[in-house]
Assembly symmetry: C2
Homo-oligomer: 430 residues x 2
């Protein structure tokens, strides 16, 4: 038997404790698969004495996690602190520079500094692994980077944030408002006290930026992700979506175009028949479209102690087996620097909901603005007629450029009979 | 740039030609990902002059593929001949013995001789890779062997044969008989002239035996797979399934039990709400249940030129990158030899359809036999009442042992009022 792989864990929240549990509960099979034992030798966390359901007694304790990067016994640093900068970044950089492998679940760190970290790792002949950073337990990074490596990837998209998917599913099932569902999700622990990263799409954008890099062999470009969250999605839109044959999902979508890449995170209307619209609740799913494999869909739990720890340990087994592949599928110094395609140049179909005063002529006004902007209507639905009162008027628009759509929306918003800001949701034709 | 990886392809059917196309169309991205070029240097097939849409001129031609195993230029032999024995086996053995890697799409070969081939490969320090042998383009072998390697796998199951899934979907959608759909599938090229391997479940059994080995770290045991095909599934059963909230799918299911493994391939009734029942037509899907990751589902195209070639090239990229992991996740000489659990000891729920003469007392007779065998009924549906004529009587039975169920079926078949062999389909509670 080869000598054990020694790991140091920085951050002992649920995932950190989960990693210790996986390595202990599944010790025999992990050793058999790795050809050697994987042993925790050092840990660091904010509070040494909190009860985590696992004993820390056997491990060297570090008050400052960055010092673990200097521990000669340590082969791999597992970074579970979080945050794109600060101590997490310092630890990872130092560990790599000292020739230690890094395994992390930190999507913000990789989304912001992935390219640089990869360059450092590859120059030092070690790995930085981040399967747990994207879609929790789903081995999508490995699938894209290795299993599907024969394909030119045309598009990759997915439900990348379980909190949002849980909330949208719940809103659809119960008809309740965003705010009510959010506070319930917070009580249940499905949403953070500060839900910004989740509901404003930032978390999904972090993950999408990483997927984009692996899929297209380009530098990680978080700033190129155009992001819109789910705060403005209302039960009435969800109802209309049902009626029109759609589900509303917060998706991250990356597609390669001539010399540029379009990265966007926003609520989408997706046909109820598309596999991705069947993915409900806290589940995540990622769809890869390759030029030979066609469509491959992976789904599973996108968060939580067990799934995330499973992904971390999968990476550790790779390291233990001596597997070494380019961090983002292509060597870091060969990653392309792709231009970011602006969403204004995007072509798509659109759902628009207006609140209009129910009076003669409204319809003609709206149609006039659309016509002036060269946007053509596919369907129109008006409900709950109430002369003189505001009622919803829903349009779906044929494929058009986003810029035309935005111009038309501005024109429509300026109409006297339109009493609220128009709501627009992009329709994706999967 | 490192020196190119040179490959020899044996067998130039659709998949072989597909591999040549992938390597040529995606040359740049494959080279970037692999860190070196992957070049075909030799080929062999039955007919040198058939038009395959790709030129063979640049490659060394071999009349006898086995001779490629001796070609010093060749790093990897890609075996796409098929068949569990004969020339495919001879070629793979000889290639491995000569220190060449083998990549194959041959499920029969791996199902029958996987353990021995893995031992040879690992002793020689080379790889035998077979991602294309299971579920076409879906990177399920890599997911199980690597991405999910931190988990103790409790169960793995899936739709492993696209022909059967296409036929069952088509039967459901059109209400037509098995024979009609089969001959249509043959005309469309979705089923072979001799459909035995597909419709009798043998192809799915090959794939399941391979999945079992990777999932549980045991020797490949094709003979341990208990197999039943779809020939006896009739439109009336599909209709009743719909009514009861199920879909009928041919599944391969492997689960680990104390010291043994249960492997079975047979038609199943699956809740319409389970993700796997949404997988229709020629698509395949595999579900892995791990003790930390919970459930992960992978789906995609299970056959065809592009998807299968994608899987072959994924393996080639691994070889080109120098990735080396144990063939079946655990080193071949450490694979467990697990006992095969007989299906008679299986506990499950059952759907049973009888054709009974519509006359008083039938019901009491059937109920009496069930009671005598300790099998308890969950639902009973009788339709199309026609006094004195044969009508279908459908039962679903609460969880019971398969042996009790079989005993009850024998008793029921012997009743005077039961006019056809009872049809039984296992209900899976996913």
């Amino acid at each position: 038997m080869n000598k054990p792989l020694k790991i140091a864990i920085a951050g002992l929240g649920t995932v950190g404790a989960g990693v210790i549990k996986v390595l202990s509960d599944n010790k025999d099979i992990i050793t058999a698969r790795s050809g050697r034992a994987i042993e925790v030798c050092a840990v660091s966390a904010r509070d040494r004495h909190r009860d985590r359901g696992v004993s820390l007694a056997p491990f060297t304790w570090y008050d400052n996690p960055v010092d673990m990067a200097l521990d000669d016994e340590v082969d791999v640093v597992v970074e579970l602190i979080g945050g794109s900068d600060g101590i997490a970044k310092a630890l990872c950089e130092k560990a790599l520079e000292n020739g230690k492998h890094v395994v992390t679940a930190n999507k913000a760190l990789i989304a912001h500094h992935g390219t640089e970290l990869a360059k450092t790792a590859e120059a030092k002949g070690v790995s930085i692994m981040y399967e747990a950073a994207v879609a929790g337990g789903i081995p999508i990074i490995k699938a894209l980077r290795e299993g599907l490596a024969g394909n030119g990837v045309e598009r990759v998209y997915g439900i990348l944030n379980g909190t949002c998917n849980y909330m949208l599913t719940n809103m659809r099932e119960t008809g309740r408002d965003f705010d009510v569902i959010l506070s319930e999700a917070q009580d249940l622990g499905y949403a953070e006290a500060d839900p910004t990263f989740d509901v404003d799409g930032i978390d999904a954008a972090h993950k999408l930026a990483i997927l984009t890099s692996v899929a297209f062999g380009c530098e990680v470009d978080f700033d190129g992700v155009q992001t819109e969250g789910i705060r403005h999605v209302s039960p009435v839109d969800i109802e209309f979506a049902e009626e029109l044959g759609y589900r509303i999902k917060l998706l991250g979508i990356a597609s390669r175009q001539n010399g540029s890449v379009e990265q966007r995170v926003h609520p989408c209307m997706v046909s109820k028949k598309a596999p991705i619209s069947q993915v409900e609740g806290v589940f995540n799913a990622v769809v890869v479209e390759g030029n030979f494999v066609d469509q491959v869909v992976l789904q599973g739990r996108g968060a939580g102690e067990g799934p995330t720890a499973s992904a971390v340990v999968g990476d550790l087994v790779d390291v233990a087996r001596g597997v070494k592949v380019p961090t983002f599928s292509v060597a870091a110094d060969k990653l392309e620097k792709l231009k970011s395609a602006p969403l204004t140049g995007h072509n798509g179909s659109y759902y628009v909901r207006l609140m209009v005063v129910d009076e003669p002529g409204v319809f003609a006004d709206v149609a006039g603005v659309l016509k002036a902007n060269n946007v053509s209507m596919e369907t129109i639905v008006q409900r709950n007629r109430a002369p003189g009162e505001p009622v919803p008027l829903v349009l779906t628009l044929h494929e058009t450029s986003e810029q035309s759509m935005l111009n038309a929306l501005n024109g429509i918003a300026a109409l006297d009979s339109v009493v609220e800001t128009p709501r627009m949701i992009r329709i994706e034709d999967f």
